[in-house]
Symmetry: C2
Subunit: 286 residues, 2 copies
């Protein structure tokens, strides 16, 4: 694959990694970085993540083959709409948001003719923020979910072309890809990503100061993601509220069973649940 112009909106850890990855692999002639802070864009340019610094969408967007929106999830839909208005027909938009259904819903039927949005969620990232943590190999060996809506099925052209194009792009920077309906994506990540974040944050809130000296690797690993940015995660929880609450219901029910077994001293029930947890966890790495 070869692009002429790739525009990255929001050049932080993820956006910067996309720029670095695309430039190092020689799949793009020019990477434009669009953002609000000249300082941070200058840093991105100095690090080799972008070729051009843009503060104005009317210079950054026109002529782009692909625009990747890397803003917080609650700003993605409005950013796409705003920038699509000045885009050259044929431009494909995608994003890196951790939620998908609400974004797809918010954009449905609102894009100008010739402009396609395909939702992406690369399962890669870090609790760190900022372009200085960008990594050209962040997506290597990771999976990117490329989402479709039911409407995408009913309207195969040009959306299908856009989806293939977006898949080719992620693959060109090292990721594997999987198609998924936006609502199934959100249901799934509610359990595999948003619930773990909520639980890690809860754990991080309940350790008394005097006990911090007893913290070891188990606690560190279990709570690592709680160091993520509170603003980004508040927005993610809000965007995927209903599915997160469903996942939390399942978690609470299971935790209730554990509590019951511990309270009652039910050795075999406790052992059986810990064995099931181990089997599930082992399956993930096998």
């Amino acid at each position: 694959m070869k692009l002429r112009v790739l525009t990255i909106v929001g050049v932080g850890l993820l956006g910067g990694s996309i720029g670095l990855a695309a430039r190092r692999r020689g799949i793009v002639d020019c990477v434009r970085g669009l953002g609000r802070s000249r300082e941070s864009l200058d840093e991105a340019k100095a690090l080799g993540a972008i070729d051009e610094v843009h503060l104005d969408p009317t210079t950054a967007i026109p002529g782009s083959d692909l625009v990747v929106v890397c803003t917080p999830v609650d700003l993605i839909a409005e950013t796409v709409l705003q920038h699509a208005a000045v885009a050259t027909p044929g431009t494909i938009f995608t994003d890196v948001g951790s939620t998908k259904k609400r974004i797809v819903d918010d954009l449905e039927g609102k894009l100008p003719p010739g402009i396609v949005f395909v939702g992406s969620h690369p399962l890669a990232g870090s609790e760190k923020r900022g372009v200085r943590y960008a990594d050209a190999d962040l997506f290597v060996g990771r999976m990117t979910v490329v989402t479709m809506s039911q409407k995408n099925f009913e309207r195969p052209v040009p959306d299908a072309v856009g989806m293939d194009f977006v898949v080719d792009f992620w693959q060109a920077i090292g990721s594997t890809c999987r198609f998924m309906l936006a609502e199934y994506h959100d249901k799934g990540v509610a359990t595999t990503s948003h619930l773990p974040h909520l639980i890690a944050s809860t754990l991080a809130c309940v350790v008394p100061m005097w006990a911090q000296c007893l913290v070891a690797t188990g606690y560190r690993d279990t709570t690592r993601i709680a160091a993520g940015d509170p603003g980004l995660w508040t927005a993610i929880f809000e965007q995927n509220r209903d599915e997160l609450l469903n996942a939390l219901d399942r978690f609470d029910a299971q935790l209730g069973l554990f509590r019951q077994a511990i309270e009652k001293g039910d050795h075999s029930a406790l052992h059986a649940m810990l064995a099931e947890a181990k089997k599930n966890r082992d399956a993930i790495d096998s």
Copy 2:
């Protein structure tokens, strides 16, 4: 420090690491391994973790300077009592158990004259089991809690000597040490270790099969310890039942606050709690 004879009861990951660490650092003339499986003790000897294979306490225990009991927590007290009966007066016993109060209580007033038990808990380990994962540097830079009971204070000799001896031993194999009353140790690790294990296991139980493809590093880290041995952890939960339930109460209360904020769409409360979690988590690594 220099020991003539160190006896390790139960030569798995932890016991094997103690043997390797002591032999490599030249602080012991002879390491005896005592266990029930000749095959596993032969493996420990082949790996350099022990010098002698023992299946019989009456040959393994007499003449030992230090006996380190590395059995599952529910067997530690009875193992110490059984082996103390054949020990040479002056022998010091310690352990590596994740809980302390019940063990100390079970041994109180029951040891033969001249035999001292000092509880230890090295905050090091792995979800792996077996001497083949033993590591001579497992304790380097880690902390070992050396526990005292109120009675230890009232009876400074010979217990104080035993405690110094045990501290010297852990330091000689690379660990730092901290004294703590057994009940405070158990209160603390209920929150920093046992609760995270329970929570990780709960999370590992609630991911549907179809969503496993969406698992990324966050989930992997959060649930890693759920791969621990179910038998060992059932025993730990049972030994520290009351403190674990107290920690679980605090966790449930905090999770309830998160749920409320998400249900109500209370942006600022949610943001504030995630920010508190981040602050606490950042403090641990600073």
